[in-house]
Symmetry: C2
Subunit: 237 residues, 2 copies
Amino acid sequence: MHLMAEKRGTSGGLRERKKRATRAALAEAAVRLAAEHGTDNVTVEAISAAAGVSVRTFFNYFDSRDDSFIAIDAEAGERVRRAVLHAPAGLSPLEAVREGLATELREIERQHGLWSLYARVLRTSPHLLVRHLGAHMADETGLAEAIARRIASGPDGPDGPAPGDRATPSADGGGDVGENERRRALDLYPRLLAAVAGTAVRVSVDYWCCRQEERSFAEVFRQSFDLLADGLPAPRR
Amino acid sequence: MHLMAEKRGTSGGLRERKKRATRAALAEAAVRLAAEHGTDNVTVEAISAAAGVSVRTFFNYFDSRDDSFIAIDAEAGERVRRAVLHAPAGLSPLEAVREGLATELREIERQHGLWSLYARVLRTSPHLLVRHLGAHMADETGLAEAIARRIASGPDGPDGPAPGDRATPSADGGGDVGENERRRALDLYPRLLAAVAGTAVRVSVDYWCCRQEERSFAEVFRQSFDLLADGLPAPRR
DNA sequence: AATCATTTTTGCAGAGCGTGCACTTTTGCA
DNA sequence: TGCAAAAGTGCACGCTCTGCAAAAATGATT
């Protein structure tokens, strides 16, 4: 039974560890087989055999064959969420999310081997790409909550006023924006930011894949978030 | 055989029309049955029977059972794309997309009956929601292309400079921002805008569903795009 | 109206997916 | 060492989806 990198999760009893190992073995076998033979030509039987368990056991770990293909980065969302919560106090929400994502992406670039296989699998079968994105959409809720908590605890941290304190360009003459509207924004804003940030990552990866020769990923990623921070202004021709 | 609203697509021979009718009948039967009995309790056999065709014929129209559940709005993306292309010349790209989407959403609100069933189905089974969003992601490419063409033809209308007129990438000795960087932005920008706009719609719908009593959808939708246009600034507490 | 090429529909066989159930093996603990 | 709980396994069964070849429907032509 091949084992994935055991970096994380050496805690718990033998039972717990073996469960994690089996799950990881199944997930890695799935990706390796899919990268080699194509997703459609990999049966659950083959994956189970490669991981050294029975077919029935496979379905004890995954609800469907496709789930096993996209099980690699199951914990990435949680790490980003925590990074946003513990980001330096001076950062705006958008900046905090950007930093958290950048860290995670660097982490992924370190485990380049398995991830390039994974990327090939996703590229080959769009069907799985959609499931992959769907899995990350589930993380959005947690991220939005982290953003909301960050805002609630103060955009400036415990120490001092804000650098990014923008004068509100309210369209209503003289009068301020209603208190109600401000409260409502608090609810919509975190969700929107979480979702839009995830989208920006996706588009950046997509764009970068077509032009790896011209630009580094970090550069594309940075530009995407700059565009967001500027309000997606029409580019000058 | 029940027929869906025949609003669009009365053109073509009898063959063509009958094919469209069969496909529509299958799609509608799928949604109605799923809304009533739950997605998991609807077999292909039941859908086919409700539409008056054989099981084998079902698979001549859809690659999978799930595809039949999300086949209602197959043409929405194309309509938005066209709306963006033909939007008033004075609008910025972001504004043009917002208007195109708003029009489509009003159109949907008109066919309230089937769409509320559809919404229930998507709400009940997240699995299908992901497929639904994936289907719309495919539209992103077309929308991005429309945005790019709109930018190329001039943000001020057809009376502007030539469409294919791209300044030569000269060595960036003179200006502040390099000419190369500006050209690159043209490529990344449309994709980012298309994707982010779709995301904003999704978040708006999601948010609105939880608070229909407090705010109209148009209001939420408008606020989301205002936040985008402002660069997602940290809300004031 | 009768004929014919084309397109669509259909039944059938078969591989693979996924689940419920009962049974065996392994694990952690007393 | 023995025991209760958890994990793994084999089997039966229904559903999904595909390939193939035959049957039915369609639209144009004579």
